[in-house]
Symmetry: C2
Subunit: 491 residues, 2 copies
Amino acid sequence: MTYTDHTTEEINDAMQQAWKAFHVYRKCSLKQRAGFLRAIAKEIENLGDELLKVAGEETNLPEARLRGERARTMFQLTSYADACEKGDWLEARIDTAIPDKAPPKPDIRKMLVPLGPVVVFGAANFPFAYSTAGGDTATALAAGCPVIVKAHPAHAQTSELVAAAILKAAKDCVLPEGVFTHIHGASFEVGKALVTHQHTKAVGFTGSFTGGKQLFDWANQRKEPIPVFAEMSSINPVFLLPEKMKTAAAETAAMYAGSITLGVGQFCTNPGLIIGLEGKELETFRTTLGTEISKIAPGTMLHPGIFKNYRKKKDEALKQAGVELVAYSDAKPALNQGSPTIAAATGKTFLNNPLLHQEVFGPYSLIIGCKDMKEMLQVAIALEGQLTATLMATENDLRIHDNLVEAVKNICGRFILNSVPTGVEVCLSMQHGGPFPATTDSRFTSVGADGMKRFARPIAFQNWSNELLPDELKNENPLGIWRTVNGELSR
Amino acid sequence: MTYTDHTTEEINDAMQQAWKAFHVYRKCSLKQRAGFLRAIAKEIENLGDELLKVAGEETNLPEARLRGERARTMFQLTSYADACEKGDWLEARIDTAIPDKAPPKPDIRKMLVPLGPVVVFGAANFPFAYSTAGGDTATALAAGCPVIVKAHPAHAQTSELVAAAILKAAKDCVLPEGVFTHIHGASFEVGKALVTHQHTKAVGFTGSFTGGKQLFDWANQRKEPIPVFAEMSSINPVFLLPEKMKTAAAETAAMYAGSITLGVGQFCTNPGLIIGLEGKELETFRTTLGTEISKIAPGTMLHPGIFKNYRKKKDEALKQAGVELVAYSDAKPALNQGSPTIAAATGKTFLNNPLLHQEVFGPYSLIIGCKDMKEMLQVAIALEGQLTATLMATENDLRIHDNLVEAVKNICGRFILNSVPTGVEVCLSMQHGGPFPATTDSRFTSVGADGMKRFARPIAFQNWSNELLPDELKNENPLGIWRTVNGELSR
């Protein structure tokens, strides 16, 4: 099914409505916001198998995966609802007055308040969890911001179904019209109209570097620049350290064959770069990984555009001087199927060719053989910001190669030891955001309840009497939230 | 004394050195960083009256004010040292593994780590507290970032003295060369070279809108955009509500005469706009304020450039159609002295003339007479983002005019009731930062220990064993800091 793009006029009406809704919704209690999130989860459940069927047709994702992703989406909504209601995230701070200080110190109390309407651009690869009712929408609503979702054209009908569920939940919760709006738009103009509208106060995005960077630039060129949290591009480097490889080369290769090809490689945390030391251990790793990869069947990708892009980027990488094809799936790929592929190059080749630093979105990984640890360090330093970085290492490796450990830590948001980067837990300790170009602001996360902080700002109340303060800041702490009172946390 | 601008080459060398220092300094413990901040405070004290003398000559600020500002600067350093050491700000979160979950949930632990070298542009109006060893420098060093200060050309010698104190403290604390660097530069090129250098990872700025916006644009146009926290421009509106004015018009006017002229009006929280309802109460307010203002003597401004700019901006405002001069100081101003001045206009005039929304930096305020509360609401909505906003109101006023209260709250970072905006307490609950153009990112503050968060980003450690984790995240919590463990705060 195709949908007509919303016009600039319709978008303006929607933003006016969202702005109006903001003035009501931001006054809703934490409990009311949490109730809304839980009602959305319930309504998504009520869509039943019809939702899975439509999403399957639009994305080619298998039912089991979609079932899992739907469960994840509902868990996000309900766990962020719990976190929202708990109120720890409000960063409530109270400093009581000291009237006899010279000059007298006034009573000051601070907490986070919502920024305003948030525009969300969903991801192609997560039709539920990072789309219409996904992480950005859930955290923005929890923060007290109305949300305007631009449906991803590749799964617009899925988006339409989920949007209807959100709107029903909003109605049942007696929330103002405009607290949630669903916009269709395949064209450039729709995105631009949304990001540059005066009532838009923040943007959430998951997708390509080109797309995210464009939104970031538009947002910064506004008369009133607004924050953009764009999760864009990452090759999630994996460093194979020498002592670890002496005993675990084959085992690591087998584990990585699974990670590289999981979901046809269509994850933002896909390990697209594996760096080791030239020698017989790396040879073992390479051979084992090659053997495993050749046994893994190609899979249908999310949509023809993503497949075409995968083939193009992969072919481009393989054509570079010094890049060698190591292995690919034995099975012949059908239409729009991505074939698992492994390539290899030397450290020197990698250091001299920036194209090889770019993401190839799909089941592809490049093995880099460094001539020594100095070169491996150079590779780490040459890398751009990443969502994740992984070390396969023994304790000895970490101690001896401390410089490398520090350099790798410095470029990533999540730092993994002896595991794989795919699989992003939804929990408070998760960091899904890293130095540019992984995301546009490494100081925030798009997964976990801390994601709410992207869409809120502190406000300090000075000299307000207890009765006039918001409940979150009253002396008696009626909501029972954690607060820092005169320097000490309490509740 | 004048100093030669550093060359681009020298700046590059300094940034290379800062980058090298970053790799050492970020591994320093919270205790070591706190020790450094305390040593800086001590060294500033050791500069004795010589520092006050030089600063007085460069800024025309009276000795009592400079003495107070020096004490504030030292309090910032020592109180941020305490906050740094306490570690609450690290937002440590621990989610322990659940191996029997399907799929198994790994151990994930998150905390803030420093961004990298921070370039600081100090303020003209605070030669100590928002300059060389001021709030931005103190919070960036506490966060674990090396700092490069560009001296303000208007008090370059003061800056030189303070820089020497910081460098001595760094040496005594055995910190790497490059942890602090002092750069001179009156030209545009020096600022640009600093902000666009690849090793600069964040920028702190206090000053004019033009200056701050330029840095923000340069930072966003980089290949790797970096965060800029610029505190730029605010007219700090004050709303006089009707019931309050019935009994407190004269008293409020007397209080505001002091606030408007404090420090020759050279504070970023100076109340530059006062909005009331036309009628006899506003007439009383206006007459009393006028009488008080006429009695206040002009004061020498920070430097001739600031004086010239004050006169120009004030004259421009007074020339606008519908703007009436209410009162000015009876005393004739001497060279470079700013004369306290009050003007007035109607709500309609204000709404139709954006020039009147601009900051006039100095002892000036504009009284707006609205024809009704609807117009007052329109004025509130028409205002841009502000550092502070103030209501002079009774409880009844707040209840009846809830729409106005919400609209005003929405544009400010600090919301004051029945007091004045001048006077910025250094405490955790302070918010010194508001919606654009007050600052470039309303989600952060430049005053209070939360200012550290501007220069840090979260990193999640996944699957690391207890011994390999940083102390902040170890099971036994050796530093005794507050952490959220499996969803619950504890220490």
